[in-house]
Symmetry: C2
C-alpha cells in the first residue's frame, strides 16, 4: 500500500508529518510517500533511522498555509504538496492522501480540481471521528456545507454508513440525525425532511431517528448526520466546553498546595478522561464523497496523530471504501438526478 | 410589586414553587400571587411562616404537565395555572409571571392567547441566561423558532439588547451572532444576512460580529443571537458536555480510595466550578417579545431557583423592560412591515 503524507501540512511542518510517516512505515509496513520541499524533507528525514522502511520523497516546491483561502489556491500554487499529493492518488500512483493541513483547501482541490466526486454524490462532506463513548462515532457534515438540502443529508447518511461499515468495522451502524428533540414534530424544516427520507430509505440504513446532543454522549448511535453549520457549532461547542472545564480546574489547582496534592492523587482519573477526549488516537477523519481516500487531521497534530491518521487511511484502503461507495451510489436511485 | 408564581410548574410542584415564592416575598418584600389548586397550595403554604409577608393564592383548578403539547393546551385547560396566571398579568392585576413549567405551553399561551406580542415584534423568543464567564450572558433564540429569517434574528438582537440594558444592568451590551467562524465569508445564509442587517442597524446596537462557540466561553459578548434550532443544539451540547465530564469523573472517583481522597482535597475547586456552571443563581430566563414580563425556569428547579427567577422578573419590572421594548419597536422601522 502506498500512502501519500502531505509533509507541509501541520502547524509544525515538516517535523510531526515526517516523524508520523516514519512511525507508520515501521508499524504498518506501508510505503509512505512524503510530499513537500525536497531539501527540507531530506534534512528532516535524515534525523530518523529508516533502514528497511519504505519512505520516499516527492518534491512539491509550493506550500499552502492555513491562512490561504480555498478559492484562492484552487487554481494557484498548483505545485503545492496538496495539489501534487492528491494528484498522485488520482493517477493511481498512490492509494490514499493524508494531511494535517488547510481543510478548506484540501476539500476544494480534491472536489473541484483533482479527485472530483464519486459519480452520484452531490456534495462531498467533512467528517469528524470521536471515541468519546469508548468506540468510534462519525459526525458529518462538520463544515463543508453550511447550507444543505435534505437530499444531501440523506447522502451524508449513506456515506457515513458505508464508511463506518467498510473502514471502521462497525457491523450495523446506527444512523441518527442531530436535532433539538427526539419527539415527533421536533426539528427544523431540513431535519424533518431528512428524517422522512431516511425513514423511507431503501439502502438498508439502520436509521434510529433524531438524536439530541446529550444523547449522543450516551452512545446511542454510530453515525450522526447534520448540515455543516450545525455540525461545526456542535463540535466546537463540545471542544470548547471541555477546554473551558479543564482550563478552569487547572487554574484553580495552581492556586493552592492542597489542590495540587488532590490533583496529584487524582491524576490517573484525569489522565483517563484526557485519553477519552483525546483526538490523537483517532488522528483525523475522512473527506467523504471524493473519488479517493483522503484523511484530514488537526493542524496541531503531533507525530502520533499523523501515524493514527495514516492508520485511518489504510483501513479505508483495505476496506475498499471508495469502491463500495462507487458501486452503491451507481446502484442507488440518488444517481438518477445528479444535476447539481 | 405583584408577581405571579405558577405554583403547579416545577417537577415537584407545588413544593419548590411555594417555598421559592415565600423566600422571594421575604427577601424582596414583593406581593407573591401563587396560582394553582387552592387546597393543595393552602396545605403547602401552611408549612411556612409567612407572618408579615404578602403571599396570596389564586385558584386554578387545572394544571398543564410537561407532557402536554402546546398546541393541545392552547384552547383547552383554560383554567390552568398558566392561563390564569398569564391573564392576571394581561389584565394588570399583576406585574410579572414566573413559572418552572412547560416552556412550549407558556410560549404558546402567552403569544397566541393572553399577553400577545408587543406591536412590531414578529416572533417572541426563548432565552437562556448563563453566568459561565462570571457575569450574565443572554442567549436567544434557544428553541422557539426552529426555522428563522434574518429579520427575526435582527429583532432578537434588539430584544436581547433592550433586556440586557434594562433588566440585567449591562451598560452597553455586546451583541454577537453565533457562527461557524468569525472570518469574512463564514456563516450560513441566515447568519450572513443577519450579519449584514446588524452591521447596518440604526438602533444603536453594539454589534461585534460572528462569534464561535469557544469564544463565547471567553467572555467576548453579552448577547448571543441565533435561530432556535442552532441555539437549542448549542445549549444542550454545552450542558451535555458538562454532565459527561462530571459524570465520568464521579464514576472514576468512586472506584478508588486514593481518588476519593484526592477529590476531597479538591472539593473547593469542584464546588467553585459547579457554582460557575450552576443555573440556580440565575433561576430562569425571559420569554421576550410578548406584552408582559414572563420568566421561565427549569422543571428541576428547587426553591432557591424559583426565588432567583422571581428576582429576574422583578428586575425586568423595575427596569421597565416591556415599556422600553414597546417604545423602541414602535419607533423602529421594523414595525413598518409587521405582516407575519
Amino acid at each position: 500500500m502506498r500512502i501519500v503524507v502531505d509533509a507541509m501540512g501541520s502547524d509544525n511542518y515538516p517535523i510531526p508529518d515526517v516523524a508520523g510517516g516514519v512511525l507508520a512505515a515501521r508499524e504498518f509496513g506501508d510505503q509512505i510517500i512524503l510530499v513537500g520541499q525536497q531539501d527540507m524533507l531530506e534534512r528532516e528525514l535524515a534525523k530518523h533511522d529508516i533502514k528497511g522502511l519504505s519512505v520516499d520523497i516527492v518534491h512539491a516546491p509550493e506550500a499552502i498555509s492555513m491562512q490561504d483561502k480555498p478559492s484562492a489556491v484552487l487554481n494557484s500554487k498548483l505545485q503545492s504538496s496538496i495539489h501534487i499529493g492528491l494528484d498522485l492518488v488520482k493517477t493511481k500512483q498512490a492509494d490514499a492522501f493524508v494531511s494535517m493541513g488547510n481543510t478548506g483547501a484540501i476539500h476544494a482541490i480534491a472536489t473541484l480540481k483533482t479527485l472530483r466526486r464519486i459519480p452520484g454524490v452531490k456534495r462531498p462532506v467533512l467528517t469528524a471521528i470521536y471515541a468519546i463513548t469508548g468506540h468510534n462515532m462519525i459526525f458529518l457534515d462538520i463544515g463543508a456545507n453550511a447550507d444543505a438540502k435534505a437530499e444531501w443529508l440523506e447522502q451524508f447518511a449513506l456515506m457515513g454508513h458505508l464508511y463506518a461499515l467498510t473502514a471502521l468495522g462497525i457491523h450495523s451502524p446506527r444512523i441518527a440525525t442531530l436535532s433539538n428533540g427526539e419527539e415527533e414534530g421536533k426539528g427544523n424544516q431540513l431535519t424533518k425532511e431528512a428524517q422522512e427520507r431516511l425513514r423511507e430509505n431503501t439502502y438498508g440504513l439502520r436509521y434510529v431517528g433524531h438524536i439530541e446532543p446529550k444523547e449522543i454522549l450516551l452512545d446511542k448511535c454510530d453515525v450522526v448526520v447534520m448540515d455543516g453549520f450545525v455540525g461545526n457549532i456542535f463540535l466546537k461547542t463540545f471542544e470548547g466546553s471541555v477546554t473551558y472545564i479543564t482550563d478552569f480546574l487547572r487554574a484553580e489547582i495552581n492556586q493552592s498546595l492542597t489542590y495540587k496534592l488532590g490533583a496529584l492523587l487524582l491524576r490517573g482519573a484525569f489522565r483517563k478522561l484526557r485519553t477519552r477526549l483525546d483526538t490523537r488516537e483517532v488522528g483525523g477523519a475522512p473527506l467523504l464523497g471524493v473519488n479517493g481516500v483522503v484523511i484530514i487531521g488537526h493542524g496541531s497534530a503531533d507525530s502520533y496523530s499523523v501515524r493514527s491518521a495514516i492508520r485511518l487511511a489504510r483501513q479505508a484502503v483495505i476496506g475498499n471504501t471508495i469502491e463500495t461507495m462507487t458501486a452503491k451510489f451507481a446502484a442507488s436511485r440518488l444517481v438518477a438526478d445528479t444535476t447539481s
